[in-house]
Symmetry: C2
Subunit: 161 residues, 2 copies
Amino acid sequence: MSRSVQPPQLDAFDRKILAILQRDNTTPQRTIGEAVNLSAPAVQRRIKRMTKEGVIQANAAIVDPMAIGQSVTIFVEVEVISETAAQIEEAKRAFASEPEIQQCYYVTGEADFILVIIVPTMGDYEALTRRLFFGNNNVKRFRTFVAMDRVKVGLNIPVEA
Amino acid sequence: MSRSVQPPQLDAFDRKILAILQRDNTTPQRTIGEAVNLSAPAVQRRIKRMTKEGVIQANAAIVDPMAIGQSVTIFVEVEVISETAAQIEEAKRAFASEPEIQQCYYVTGEADFILVIIVPTMGDYEALTRRLFFGNNNVKRFRTFVAMDRVKVGLNIPVEA
DNA sequence: CCCTCCGATGAAACAAACTTGCAAAACGGC
DNA sequence: GCCGTTTTGCAAGTTTGTTTCATCGGAGGG
């Protein structure tokens, strides 16, 4: 919920460690240490600090949706009618509270929000649209894109200097 | 690279384990075992199997882009001119090989591809568009959305029965 | 109906990784 | 140049992951 309050200082060691952990966070600290020229405990302390500071937000296994029987990935562009600060915040809260909404971005351009949704079936998506868009009179328009192929998936932030 | 060749059978144990690992893959196997009523070795074997089968695609730390100084998240809708199988595959390969392209989906709707891009600065994005879109004569049109706020981020596939 | 085979399981032993305490080194401010 | 702060590496202790092995239970065949 809370972002990093003060910009944490990340040195070259931290960045290299993050680059490794983003690729594979099961890498042993000893191996990381060898890669960055630091001892295992030093690596461990830095990881602990970055986790506490919120630089590392989570440690997650990435699962192939195809493996889980039916699951559909959908993109939605949402355009709202009124873009007052209060209503934008309200929309953010509404979107963020939906478990099916995997990612929600507030964007500039021809839309106001972009949502990434994963649901077991198209029927679940239809129910979600009913509840979320048709039931919300601040939604002007929304456009749906259904993923046929998940060509590439990741969330690796560029950390190199 | 290779998808799951044959749909792996996932039982209730596997699904519960995946649900936990998607939330936090640093959870000890013993703790997972208690949660699903299985011994630690059984959990370990299932994780190993699902990793080999590709159900678990990666184990990654999720990093807050805000913590890494400047970084911009951008959505791009790409519409291609010719949608032959060969050209679609070519585009998939081209997009997947770009490190800045975090996510690439082949979609139905008013666009053909949706890209999620993370770059340090807008200048890097401009350079990418030059190389990727203007240099590709199969790209009919692309629309850019710049993320002002990363309201929610995750990739949790629904695994509950 | 019983028997065998096969896969999965749990207990225990083992190996590897993580974590902590502590003294020394590096860095900065004065 | 001295001193306080911070970070480091080493070593010991603890937790976690991994392997081994005997056992259990179900499916198929005699």
